[in-house]
């Protein structure tokens, strides 16, 4: 039960009202529309809108889907929205100015009573119109079923068809569609009809993602590899920081496991052996990446005795 707010049907009159309010903001919106909205759940950046996800993919940022798939919620093979971004991915999008990041403020919650009651009214109006539509559809559906039954019965025995015909005729008068049987749409992304909390966009210095040395190292490596045209995803299960794909992950297997180490970090030989073994077992080359004065230095490990 997901969907963009655009899919939800709204009676024409109220949509015109909404548009008039938005006119003054339309110019700002035009430029903003091209940007991806990143919202934060705690310190984790996430994308909620399908359009945002498409734009993000076209930039080469993959991310990972972590929510239940709306059509089939009770399985783990395919997951749905939201798209969780790594901090490096979010930083890249912010740096390229392809996105804005916003944090929901905890304190305020739309103190504006009028706007809130307006939103409630719109929501209820939408619900009502949806109900009317569904009534009509349900009645048609019922008629079709009865007609089908009637036709089948006429083809079979005589006499029983008349009872069905009577039911059909009585249907128009006596059919009732209970309110509680109505299908309701649950929005995945925050839609215009819910109360809109104040969102504050911020500079990257302010961001809720904690920035430490390791994140900076990883971000430099991520940015460099992305600029070279590789696609990167997370590689926790392979003991590394990133999995590097020559193209879209849906089309290729990863070629490299990237491990980000800073140049002055000491690495015990056992660790190097362990990661090299791992890489050779899964048939991927291990890359040790270290940022150095704006550039990134790569060393690859290949176990030559394993064929």
């Amino acid at each position: 039960m997901d969907g963009d707010p655009a899919v939800m049907k709204v009676p024409r009159s109220s949509s015109v009202e909404v548009k008039e309010d938005m006119d003054t903001k339309s110019e700002k919106q035009a430029t903003r529309d091209a940007l991806i909205d990143i919202s934060f759940c705690g310190s984790t950046p996430m994308l909620w809108k399908v359009s945002d996800m498409k734009k993000c993919r076209s930039e080469g940022v993959i991310g990972a889907l972590v929510g239940s798939l709306a059509r089939q919620p009770r399985q783990n093979v395919r997951l749905g929205r939201p798209l969780e971004l790594r901090p490096e991915e979010a930083l890249l999008l912010l740096e390229k100015e392809k996105s804005t990041a916003a944090v929901r403020l905890d304190t305020q919650d739309c103190e504006d009573e009028e706007a809130h009651s307006e939103a409630v009214r719109l929501y209820e109006a939408g619900l009502e119109s949806s109900y009317q539509e569904q009534c009509v559809l349900a009645l048609e559906d019922k008629k079709k079923t009865l007609n089908r039954v009637m036709n089948e019965k006429e083809n079979g025995t005589e006499g029983s068809g008349s009872a069905v015909r009577e039911r059909l005729e009585a249907l128009d008068q006596s059919f009732s569609f209970p309110w509680s049987a109505m299908a309701v749409q649950l929005c995945t992304a925050r839609s215009g009809f819910s109360h809109c909390p104040e969102e504050r966009s911020f500079h990257s210095t302010d961001c809720p993602m904690p920035r430490d040395e390791h994140l900076n190292t990883r971000f430099s490596v991520y940015r460099d590899l992305r600029n070279k045209g590789y696609y990167l995803t997370s590689a926790g299960k392979f003991g590394g920081d990133f999995l590097v794909y020559p193209g879209d992950p849906l089309r290729f297997h990863a070629h490299y496991i990237a491990l980000c180490v800073s140049l002055d970090e000491e690495m015990p030989v056992c660790d190097i052996l362990a990661i090299a073994r791992l890489g050779s077992n899964v048939k991927k080359t291990v890359l040790l990446c270290s940022p150095q004065e704006g550039d990134v230095v790569y060393s690859s490990l290949q176990w030559s005795s394993m064929v």
């Binding site: 929510g67 239940s68 509680s180 109360h195």
Partner: protein, 405 residues
């Protein structure tokens, strides 16, 4: 959905039904529940941002929760006070009804309706989730606290004095009796006297005077009959005794009048044996752990040369303090028990989950021991979250085999 989820999720308090925030969010994602706040429905994005925080359930914990629920497991929050200790389990007490703590209050408006389309319950929130969060955690009282901790608040800065104070308390009192000079009468021997001399004045409490003691009545109660064995039994005993030397028939042992003399004799014998040992090995500070002929089985030998002793999870637990970083989040019950699952008596969980991520440290022995102690007889699984991918790890207690046949 007719509301089947009430069987495994949610809890009742004061007549109303509540859902935990993670349960509500999961049901929203499945499309079974709509949550209203101030008359407007919350989107899933709102749910994520409002319900998940470090005070309630973090995003990682929710991802593990969702993953397991989607596979069909029954997942409940872990309540440390619900774990029964070994003693309680020995006594086999019926599980008492522990009160669960609610973290999000919702007013349930309409009863469950039987429709096939989407909503089964509509619930209204009365106020913001994060305002009502009052998480209290109960840690099991550590009954084995060492004595000096009770004084700690007063003496925190006098570290040396603290150490010194410890000694007199933990030191055991020197024995007042010199057991080497006290002789105990042997009442079991054949040649016994009916009368016992009174004990020495110093051994008795003050003002107590004991005369000669007539023990004939007591001796009559002792069973001094000679054991009558059948011929087969006697043969068996002879076989057993062939290589066993009776301690009592040892002349030197008979000459000992008390335990002190006996242990001296044993020490002397040991010294005599040691005279055959090479000096360069035995006369230094570091001596060999064993000597030829000392052990009769492989297990004894391995015990003697085993400097590194293997430890189990349950050792040394009383000295462990609860850790802030490692906490058990959930109890997990198997999917096939859903039909009989009762919220009031869930029974023993299949496993307990501790959620962590690849960005954090690997659990060290302290953490593993502390968690397994907290969980008692239920194994602990570590769910490691890596940007949506979840891997499960568990540590198994393992003892290296020492018997070599």
């Amino acid at each position: 959905m007719r509301g089947k989820f009430w069987q495994t999720m949610g809890f009742s308090e004061r007549g109303k039904q509540y859902l935990q925030p993670e349960e509500a969010l999961y049901l929203m994602e499945c499309g079974n529940v709509q949550v209203f706040y101030r008359d407007l429905p919350l989107s899933i994005q709102d749910g994520y941002e409002r319900f998940l925080s470090s005070d309630t359930v973090t995003l990682h914990q929710y991802q593990v929760f969702g993953h397991l629920k989607r596979l069909g497991y029954v997942v409940n929050r872990f309540d440390p006070s619900s774990v029964s200790s070994t003693y309680e389990r020995q006594l086999n007490l019926p599980a008492s009804d522990k009160q669960k703590k609610q973290l999000k209050r919702k007013r349930s408006q309409s009863p469950v309706s039987s429709d096939k389309h989407g909503i089964s319950t509509e619930e209204k929130t009365t106020s913001e989730a994060h305002n009502e969060l009052a998480e209290t955690s109960k840690l099991p009282a550590d009954l084995q606290e060492p004595v000096h901790l009770a004084d700690a608040p007063e003496r925190t800065w006098w570290m040396e004095e603290d150490v010194q104070q410890k000694h007199p308390k933990t030191q055991t009192a020197a024995p007042r009796w010199d057991f080497s000079s006290i002789s105990f009468p042997d009442l079991g021997s054949r040649r016994r006297s009916e009368r016992l001399a009174s004990p020495h004045r110093s051994l008795l409490p003050e003002n107590v005077d004991v005369g000669e003691c007539d023990v004939s009545r007591w001796l009559g109660r002792l069973n001094m009959k000679q054991e009558k064995l059948s011929r087969r039994d006697m043969e068996r005993q002879r076989e057993r005794d062939r290589y066993r030397r009776d301690v009592n028939s040892d002349r030197e042992v008979r000459r000992c009048r008390n335990w002190a003399e006996y242990s001296e004799l044993m020490e002397e014998r040991r010294r005599r044996r040691r005279k055959h040992r090479p000096e360069h090995l035995w006369e230094r500070e570091e001596t060999p752990l064993t000597q030829p002929g000392q052990c009769t089985s492989h297990r004894e030998l391995l015990d003697q040369i085993g400097i590194i002793k293997s430890s189990t999870f349950s050792e040394g637990l009383s000295r462990l303090s609860p850790s802030d970083q490692w906490k058990i989040s959930f109890d997990v019950y198997q999917p096939d028990t859903v039909a009989e699952f009762k919220k009031s008596h869930p029974g023993k969980p299949y496993t307990r989950m501790c959620v962590c991520s690849f960005a954090g440290p690997v659990p060290d022995l302290h953490a593993v021991k502390q968690l397994s102690f907290q969980s008692q007889d239920v194994p602990v699984t570590f769910a490691v979250v890596d940007h949506g991918d979840i891997s499960f790890y568990c540590f198994k207690d393992f003892k290296l085999p020492t018997d070599v046949y």
